[in-house]
Point group: C2
Chain length 215, copies 2
C-alpha cells in the first residue's frame, strides 16, 4: 500500500483511494446487473461506511438521486472521469527485473488505461529488443525518449541503490508522477507526485489481525 | 493497494494501515536521532493529520506524555507489538513466476519479520530445488507442508484463473490470512483474513492528480 503524501489539502488522499475502491464495487454491481443502489446498500454489500461514501462523493458533486440512490453505470462513469480513467496514460517503466516484468505483464494496468509504452534498463543484455511490441532501451537517453512520447508517468522498479538516480532522470525528462516500488525513500520536486508502494504494509495488516485472533 | 475488508468493526482498516505508516515515520525519526515528538510535529513533518494520529492511537492506549509528546523509540516499539511485528511470521508463497520471484527477493518483508519459508509452484521445472535455502515444492501436498511448518500466512502470486483453487488449498491447510496478488476476486471463509493487493489503484491516484494538474 502506498505511503500517503497529503499534498493537496482539498481532497484527502484516502478519499481518492476510496474512489478507486468504489469504482471497483460499481463494476461488480454492473456485472451483476444492478442498475441503482443506495449508499446504505452499497455500504452493506461491500463493508463500507455509508456516511463516508456520501462524504467522499460530495467533494466532487451531487451524485445521488432522492428516493433512488445512485445510478450505478452513471456514477461509475463520473468516478472514472474524476480519477482520470477516461483516457489512456502512456507510462515508462524503469527496471526490467522480476518486478518490472511482473508489472509489465500485469493485465490490470492496461485495462485501466495505463499503458507501458517504453521500458528502460541499464543491463545491455536486456536492451535493444522489444517485449510484446514495447521497446527496452538503455538509460542513455531517458529524457529524450520520454519527451518524444509525451510520458507523464514513470514507474521505478529498480533496486533501492539506483532508485533516486532513476527518479531524477524521470523528473528531468518531464515526468509529473512517479510510482516507486524500490524499498527506499525518494526525494522529488514538490510539483511531482510521488507514490511509493510499500508491500510490507499489506503483511502488517495481516499480522495485526492474526495477533488479535490469537488473544 | 489493498481493497479494505472492514470485517473487524472496532478498529477501522485505515487506522491499521496508518499504524504501519506511523511506524515507518518513527523509524525515520530514530534514524535522524529524534527522541521525542509531539503529534503536531509528527503531522507536520510527514504530512499527516495530527487529530487523526491522536485518534488512531487512542484505540490502543495512552501513548503521549503531557508536555513532551511521544517517546519515539517507545512508541515505535508499542506499535510494532500492536501490529504483531515483534515476532517472526513464517509465510508460504504460491507461484514462482516473475511476481513470486520479485516478492521472494523483496528485502522489506523479512526485515519486518515475514519470512517466506516455503514456495509452491505447479510447474515441475521449478520444483524440487531450493532458492536461497527455501524449498520450491509441487502443489500435491500443500496442506501437509503448511501444517508441518505451522504456517498461518499465505501469499497468492499465481494467474487469476488458478487463484481461487490455490486459496482453497491454503485455507484447507490451516492458513488464517491470505495476501492475494492475483487480479481476481477470491472468496474465503469469514474467519480467514483476505487482503487483496490491487496495484492499479496506485496508478489511479496518480492519474487523479495529473488530471487536476492539467485543469
Amino acid at each position: 500500500m502506498a505511503r500517503p503524501a497529503y499534498r493537496w489539502p482539498k481532497v484527502p488522499e484516502m478519499t481518492i483511494h476510496r474512489l478507486s475502491v468504489y469504482t471497483r464495487c460499481l463494476r461488480e454491481l454492473e456485472e451483476d446487473g444492478v442498475t441503482t443502489i443506495s449508499s446504505q446498500e452499497l455500504a452493506e454489500r461491500f463493508n463500507l461506511n455509508s456516511a463516508q461514501v456520501r462524504k467522499d462523493l460530495t467533494y466532487f458533486g451531487e451524485f445521488g438521486v432522492r428516493g433512488i440512490g445512485y445510478y450505478v453505470t452513471r456514477l461509475r462513469g463520473e468516478l472514472q472521469k474524476i480519477l482520470g480513467l477516461d483516457r489512456e496514460w502512456p507510462v515508462a517503466l524503469v527496471g526490467f527485473g522480476n518486478l518490472g516484468a511482473a508489472l509489465f505483464h500485469h493485465k490490470g494496468f492496461s485495462r485501466q488505461g495505463f499503458k507501458i509504452v517504453v521500458i528502460f534498463d541499464e543491463d545491455p543484455a536486456k536492451t535493444g529488443r522489444e517485449v510484446e511490441g514495447t521497446p527496452i532501451l538503455g538509460m542513455q537517453n531517458v529524457g529524450r525518449e520520454l519527451r518524444a512520447r509525451g510520458i507523464q508517468i514513470g514507474v521505478v522498479a529498480v533496486p533501492a541503490e539506483g532508485a533516486q538516480a532513476v527518479a531524477d532522470q524521470l523528473v528531468a525528462g518531464g515526468v509529473k508522477a512517479i510510482l516507486n516500488f524500490a524499498p527506499t525513500r525518494l526525494r522529488v520536486r514538490r510539483d511531482v507526485r510521488l507514490q511509493s508502494v510499500d508491500l510490507s504494509i499489506e503483511f502488517e495488516t495481516l499480522s495485526f489481525y492474526l495477533t488479535r485472533l490469537g488473544r
